[in-house]
Subunit: 313 residues, 2 copies
């Protein structure tokens, strides 16, 4: 038994489509160790989940006890480890009675998967972000307002009195990837090997402002990114900044009916969430930004606390 | 010499990104034969264009004379047979002095490539559609109004007094392909092998109407096509009809400032152009539809007539 296993009380897991992240944690929520791998849920058959997890967390296990693993994200999808039925909104982001125990061979493991949320009108689903919403509530108890969770599929969720009232998913991150890497725009947007041109934040902000004011016109403006490359020597970096601004600006406009007149909390402050923060600031929209990993870890701790309480009662 | 070569005066070529089409024609524009292949411009290096063309049209050539080939489309692109500089609008769709002669090895060939059009503000380009615009003017001499040319990249062009005044490109066709085949939506939109569900035109028209009225909301509604498949058993065919309607409806709304209060001519009446026709009818927008191939052939005939006149003068 390793020294670290002595003090590890449970394991928090965020199982995304493309990454698997695990944290060894103490009972009070402290982080003892962190590991991750590229064994995302999208590439695994159901029987491959346990080996993928063991490969990462084996050193944390001891034969004397069954260690509880709390996993959120795509492990609970239909093609995941075990399908975990959605909880439908309005509801609390997490409920201990809806956790699903995954089948395991290794007797040192007890794996509980957090269910995602669904909404019937308009039809929508999330898996993983419900745990971050619980983390937002942990950081801001009683928070009422919107939460924006940027990602490949950005979610906007409304919280009131500890419950998720409604939410909406935007494909902005995936649209950006498809347009910049797989569409005709790639000829003007993919970085040249010998190019050293850098992202210009003014280009991003101007595009976001424009799209926010005229979201319906963005449909007419995408191809212009190719033409500006061909005719006006627009650099690839400026093309990408402009595309990103157009798509995020259009999203903020389309989400306006959700957030207008309400508080906004943004989960994340660098990378893609950093761009949302930049755009929101440029539009004079007030927002509080939280750390992404902290929010996920706070949410998983909420689940663990619920499980402990439930086992005691 | 084959019999057919005796009466062939010239060859019309439409060299798209993915297809090569050629027509053997008489001086008066009649069609004697038609051939095509999958040797689109996107897959060819410059030196491969002549062999690809010869493979198709060799039987039409005779050693006694140099046969004129008029080619429109991507053969004139930067990565095509020979780069053919754009004519910038406002201008006539075709001008004989801007045709570019492609380098050939075979002395039986004289290949003239039609230049595309460019626009500086907003930046835009077209290659191939300028020939169809000339075809529209041949079918409707003196036509003033908008011309809509659906395709992977749909073009809306304004014609006045024989000139192209302005135009705009929409990536609607490519967005549809990317979203339905390469995004997360594919899980709900790709046809099942064992599925027999059919396209429902009402679903398409309802989505087009909705998007036309709320184009800015379409950004918020794309992911719903995945969720409706997961939660509400929406069929893949209905998902595709809805996506197509949303994107075409959003395009018609974004193009509104171009077409409102003007005549509209649509190039094409089946396949993708047929969907535009359907959506325009549903929105009570008056439109005249022309046959796509006829329009291209009329346009190429206009070039040939200009060349003949030019050689005589």
């Amino acid at each position: 038994m390793s020294d670290s296993a002595l003090s590890i009380d449970w394991i928090a897991v965020d199982w995304g489509s493309t990454r698997l992240r695990a944290w060894a944690r103490s009972r009070d929520g402290g982080i003892l160790q962190r590991v991750d791998s590229a064994q995302g849920a999208a590439g695994l058959a159901p029987e491959q989940f346990e080996p993928a997890l063991l490969e990462l967390v084996e050193p944390w296990l001891t034969p004397e006890k069954r260690t509880t693993v709390i996993a959120c994200g795509m492990a609970g999808a239909r093609q995941g480890w075990i399908e975990t039925p959605y909880s439908s909104v309005p509801c609390r982001p997490l409920s201990v009675e809806r956790l699903v125990e995954a089948p395991v061979v290794d007797s040192r493991l007890r794996v509980l998967i957090v269910p995602g949320l669904s909404q019937s009108r308009p039809a929508d689903v999330m898996r993983g972000e419900e745990t971050q919403l619980a983390g937002v509530l942990a950081a801001q108890p009683g928070y009422g307002g919107l939460v924006c969770l940027p990602g490949t599929h950005c979610k906007w969720a409304e919280l009131q009195e500890g419950r998720v009232i409604a939410f909406r998913t935007f494909m902005t991150g995936e649209l950006y990837a498809l347009l910049s890497q797989s569409s005709v725009l790639r000829h003007s947007l993919l970085p040249d090997a010998d190019s050293s041109d850098a992202w210009d934040n003014n280009v991003f902000v101007d595009a976001a402002r424009h799209a926010f004011d005229h979201p319906e016109q963005v449909w007419a403006e995408l191809f212009g990114l190719r033409a500006q490359g061909l005719l006006q020597g627009q650099t690839a970096a400026n093309g990408r900044a402009c595309l990103s601004g157009l798509l995020i600006g259009a999203e903020l406009a389309a989400a306006r009916t959700l957030w207008q007149g309400r508080k906004i909390t943004l989960v994340g402050n660098i990378g893609l969430p950093g761009l949302y923060l930049e755009a929101l600031h440029a539009l004079d929209i007030e927002v509080r930004a939280l750390n992404t990993q902290r929010t996920t870890l706070d949410g998983l701790k909420q689940v663990f606390d619920l499980v402990v309480t439930d086992n005691r009662s």
